[in-house]
Amino acid sequence: GESVGLHLPTLSVQEGDNSIINCAYSNSASDYFIWYKQESGKGPQFIIDIRSNMDKRQGQRVTVLLNKTVKHLSLQIAATQPGDSAVYFCAELEDNMLTFGGGTRLMVKP
């Protein structure tokens, strides 16, 4: 399934499926982007980052895709697990400061 962070704040997926969380950013001059995961009662936890000279970067079970043409960022989580349930934030670097998107809640159904 897909979710646009600001318009569909909750994404529900079946355990084992792949998840795609989307984010639209605002500043075409931004050259650094990060995805964070925030679990209940915890601070945001770094997942993966990408610079604007790349369009794809892979980590362990996660992939970030960057489309600069349409100012779109996505986070793909492979084989989603119950422990992936959290709120996910994208952030872009503007004027040397991180500006966070509104967040998408990912719920994983067993």
Partner: protein, 113 residues
């Protein structure tokens, strides 16, 4: 463990009081930050600070002031607390300011009565 730690985790106080939140990082980072997260989970930068420069988000009231006794600490002082200050406040740090991941503490939930 290496981490960003902040105290207290919960802070309940009366309107009009002055309070402080402490933050320490043992990651050897040069830059520290304070963020405010509202009830809708929206995260907004308040300050960034390294030993050379304090950058203040212009929307932050001057009742809020960061104090850094040394590179590993950035405390947040809040004067004359208002109801709208109720939120979760996060401290973070990064190696340098800019295109580096920031590491966050677990937050301080501030509730104003």
């Amino acid at each position: 463990d290496t981490a960003v730690s902040q105290t207290p985790k919960y802070l309940v106080t009366q309107m009009g009081n002055d309070k402080s939140i402490k933050c320490e990082q043992n990651l050897g980072h040069d830059t520290m930050y304070w963020y405010k997260q509202d009830s809708k989970k929206f995260l907004k930068i308040m300050f960034s600070y390294n030993n050379k420069e304090l950058i203040i988000n212009e929307t932050v009231p001057n009742r809020f002031s960061p104090k850094s006794p040394d590179k590993a600490h950035l405390n947040l002082h809040i004067n004359s607390l208002e109801l709208g200050d109720s939120a979760v406040y996060f401290c973070a740090s990064s190696q340098v300011q800019g295109d580096q991941p920031q590491h966050f503490g677990d937050g301080t939930r501030l509730s104003i009565l």
